[in-house]
């Protein structure tokens, strides 16, 4: 009888495993076609950890996450062993009674203090410096950074490049035209003449990038997992974020904040290229839209 009682849960567990095993085939029946762009990076079938890191600074974040998870697993396993041991050793059985006297154990106090100290170390020693580095230490002009403005809208990313002059043109909502002028560039501003807007983000490797992130409508979140970068795009605010790609390849940019019904499809391609490829691309882009603008006006 007792065996029967415990059989059912085991069967249920087995059933879950079987179903999980059988079902991915079903899921792939009509997967959306994302093969137009080959994305770099190895993921495997059932990945359990972080995506590849192609940035210069991302290892700070990764180190912290690694340390934290080792710490968490150690604590949990240690805790769990004591827990299970207690459950087995002190189970109610004939001849065994509980001890009224409370244990005067010092160990938990020391352990708690140790945990608190370690948390303080994580906070002051690891998290704060990393945060200060990725938030405050924007690359200076001496580092020769790329400047890009990121303008989010439902449901696309617009990457606004300053062109060869390195200066952004003025933008204002009144110039906006969803077909010809998605950012609302002021045609009378000479700085904007060679500005161009792209739906793909192209960047040269081994140069820091300073992005200024904003949104036209609702809150989005600019996330590049392989770059360990994430920043909300808040309408009415322009927030600077920098990162430093080190490896060429094609990657994905995601929206991480719910922004409406097509939030799931708000994906952009990030192409990390060599400096010469990048220059060629800029050359080509700066030409195209400018002519287009003149014809249009």
């Amino acid at each position: 009888m007792k065996i029967l009682r415990w059989c059912a849960p085991v069967l249920v567990a087995l059933a879950i495993v079987w179903m999980a095993d059988a079902s991915p085939a079903l899921a792939q029946a009509d997967a959306p076609d994302i093969s137009d762009v080959q994305i770099d990076g190895e993921y495997g079938q059932f990945p359990t950890y972080m995506p590849p890191d192609v940035s210069k600074h991302g290892y700070h974040v990764d180190d912290l996450i690694n340390i934290l998870h080792v710490f968490m697993i150690l604590l949990f396993v240690g805790w769990g062993i004591f827990f299970v041991w207690c459950l087995m050793k002190f189970r109610a059985r004939p001849g065994h009674t509980a001890d009224y006297k409370l244990v005067k154990a010092k160990a938990p106090k020391y352990l708690e203090v140790a945990v608190a100290l370690f948390e303080a170390f994580l906070l002051v020693g690891l998290s704060m410096p990393v945060w200060a580095r990725v938030k405050d230490e924007l690359p200076t002009e001496a580092d020769n950074p790329i400047h890009v403005r990121v303008v989010a809208e439902q449901f696309a990313w617009n990457f606004h490049y300053p062109g060869k002059d390195g200066l952004f043109g003025r933008v204002a909502p009144e110039f906006l035209n969803s077909a010809t002028n998605v950012l609302g560039l002021d045609p009378s501003d000479p700085n904007g003449n060679d500005d161009f807007v792209s739906g793909e983000m192209h960047l040269p490797v081994d140069r820091p990038v300073i992005t200024q992130i904003t949104s036209k409508d609702v809150i989005h979140s600019f996330a590049i997992p392989v770059m360990r970068v994430k920043q909300d795009a808040v309408p009415g605010m322009r927030i600077s974020v920098w990162f430093h790609p080190v490896k060429t390849g094609t990657y994905e940019i995601a929206c991480a904040q719910l922004c409406g019904n097509n939030h799931y499809s708000m994906r952009a391609i990030l192409r990390l290229e060599s400096q010469s490829e990048y220059d060629a691309w800029v050359e080509e882009m700066a030409k195209g839209p400018a002519e287009f603008d003149e014809d249009d006006l």
Binding site: W6, S23, F90
Partner: protein, 583 residues
């Protein structure tokens, strides 16, 4: 007139529907909340189908729902039985709202708090019985408004349970219903919390000093203060958002918004982040509203089933009060990536690390209580025991989210879903199940089936881990939350296997609840008759008859000692109830 004189000749309506007896109201709360919990869970099971098999028509519901809601609805929301992204977002927002505000809080505060707390302090009823009744009915109306919002044009609220502006301001009409519903729910919890605090301060039986109160009562007291002080700012924020939506103000709308190519006519000058600050000022204490009563419940159960006093009762009380205070100054750790400066994030990260310490203390005290106990493994205890490791996982995974640097990678990914669900689902909801199994004999006078209960426990425990454990892997891989179809991303596509596993876990969890539902209803009718004190427990509620009559105690109890005097040496029995004067 006194209710005592009339308790026998009240009509059905006064006795069971518009009752002012805290026990009836408690049961009303608990049953309504359980129904809402199940409903919210069903929404989630529908979402899990879309996640596991995107673009495939839903079995059964794919045909049932269109016939229920009509053709027009089906075309926009469920073409060919496949849920639309709008519907998916609605389900997500309503799952969160229903689970938190209509399910868990009403169950553990409104239900258990109302039923058990006055009994545990030896009170005849709550201080303001009519207010108590009103708070239930206001809650009920708020719930009905939330349910009705599914029929609103454009469907229910679809901007997430957090309702971030400007998305929520420009959203469909369901959001207005959501806001009105929330104002009802907030009013209800205000009335309830005033009542709880006054009752705990004023209606304790003779001898029931503050430090003789069972820990559950302490947890309810702190929770009531959190509800009292944290909810009004959300009410204010709700009023502002309602104005934005209805009266065209622009509190959360900055200048020059362009939605789908159209320049919006808002006057501008508002701040989208203001909503987040006001919202999280409530919603962080709300997290503790979810977890503290759960701690209260399992403390009662662990004490009764280890047959030994709680280790560090006073420490736990201080911790819980400290938690209550600190929970008001950690809210912005939900907003690290909104563009927050270094010093502000350092402040909120520090308070977040500080607030983790009392939680660790609570967990440690309960763990050490097991040491040298005599542990009985009944269903209530099994649920209470599994709360401990599950809450530990939830709490530990909070660490990388509380540190701003690691939060960069994990924010708004599945990791956070895994984290808070471990706290709330196998945490709080398991505690709630434990509470149901523990106090069921008191409420109905009958025991629940242990066999069905244990089946329910083991299946739920396995299934719930199958649901939530993969979310940590997905989160670490960087998959954004709230994606209708994650396969559009290469890493999401690679992760689809885990999503399917998680979905099957969810459906298995749904099936496991059949054991509970069967047990619940069958035991009301056929359960073994329970004595007044079936668990040989010490607190006052077990000195009242099962079920307690109107007015609770035949004779007003006098309290002589601390709440958890188990296995006192030299006694013939291994428990020493609080109201018994001599051995």
């Amino acid at each position: 007139m006194s209710d005592h004189d009339h308790s026998h000749d009240q009509g059905f309506l006064r006795k069971y529907v518009f009752s002012i007896d805290h026990k009836v109201i408690g049961v009303q709360y608990a049953v309504t909340a359980l129904v809402f919990l199940f409903f919210g869970f069903c929404l989630m099971m529908m979402m899990r189908w879309q996640l596991a098999y995107p673009g495939q028509s839903m079995p059964v519901l794919g045909e049932l729902l269109p016939s229920l809601f009509g053709k027009e609805w089906a075309e926009t929301n469920m073409g060919g039985g496949v849920m639309s992204p709008d519907l998916y977002n609605s389900l997500g927002a309503m799952h969160g709202t229903i689970m938190i505000f209509l399910g868990v809080v009403p169950l553990i505060v409104g239900g258990f708090g109302n039923y058990v707390m006055p009994l545990q302090i030896g009170a005849p009823d709550m201080s303001f019985p009519k207010l108590n009744m009103m708070s239930y009915w206001v809650y009920f109306m708020g719930g009905m408004i939330m349910l009705a919002s599914f029929f609103a044009p454009g469907g229910a609220a679809n901007s997430g349970w957090t309702s971030y502006a400007p998305l929520s301001v420009t959203a469909t009409q369901g959001q207005t219903w959501w806001l009105v519903g929330m104002i009802f729910l907030i009013t209800s919890s205000l009335l309830g919390s005033v009542n709880f605090i006054v009752t705990i301060f004023h209606l304790r039986a003779k001898g029931m000093t503050m430090f003789r109160m069972p820990f559950f009562v302490w947890a309810q007291l702190v929770t009531a203060f959190l509800l009292l002080l944290a909810f009004p700012p959300l009410e204010a924020a709700g009023a502002l958002q309602l104005m934005d939506r209805v009266a065209g103000t622009s509190f959360f709308m900055p200048q020059g918004l362009v939605v789908s190519g159209v320049v919006q006519e808002y006057a501008g000058g508002g701040s989208p982040l203001l909503w987040q600050h006001l919202f999280w000022f409530l919603a962080h204490p709300e997290v503790y509203v979810l977890i503290l009563p759960a701690f209260g419940i399992i403390t009662e159960i662990i004490a009764a089933n280890t047959r030994k006093p709680i280790w560090g009762y006073r420490t736990m009380v201080y911790s819980v009060v400290f938690l209550g205070f600190t929970s008001f100054i950690v809210w912005a750790h939900h907003m690290f990536i909104t563009g927050m400066g270094t010093s502000i994030s350092a402040f909120f990260a520090t308070t977040t690390m500080i607030i983790s310490i009392p939680s660790v203390i609570l967990l440690t005290c309960l763990l050490i209580t097991l040491y040298r106990g005599s542990i009985r493994f009944n269903t209530a205890m099994l649920f209470a025991l599994s709360f401990l490791p599950m809450f530990a996982i939830g709490g530990l995974t909070g660490l990388p989210l509380g540190l701003p640097a690691s939060d960069i990678a994990l924010h708004d990914t599945y990791y956070i879903i895994g984290h808070f669900h471990y706290v709330v689902a196998p945490g709080t909801i398991f505690a709630a199940f434990a509470g149901v199994y523990f106090w069921f004999p008191k409420v109905t006078g009958r025991m629940m089936s242990e066999t069905l209960g244990k089946l329910h426990w083991i299946t739920s425990l396995i299934a719930i881990n199958v649901v939530f454990m993969p979310m940590f892997f997905q989160g670490l891989a960087g998959i954004s939350r709230r994606l209708y179809d994650q396969r559009l991303y290469s890493w999401g596509d690679a992760m689809q296997g885990w999503t399917v596993v998680s979905s099957w876990g969810a459906w298995a969890l749904g099936l496991a609840q059949i054991f509970f539902i069967l047990n619940f209803f069958l035991s009301i009718k056929f359960g073994r008759k329970a004595s007044a004190n079936p668990w040989d427990a010490t607190t006052l509620e077990w000195s009242a008859p099962s079920p307690p009559p109107h007015g609770n105690f035949a004779k007003v109890p006098t309290v002589h000692r601390e709440p958890y005097e188990y296995s006192v040496p030299g006694m013939s029995k291994d428990y020493f109830p609080q109201n018994v004067s001599e051995a």
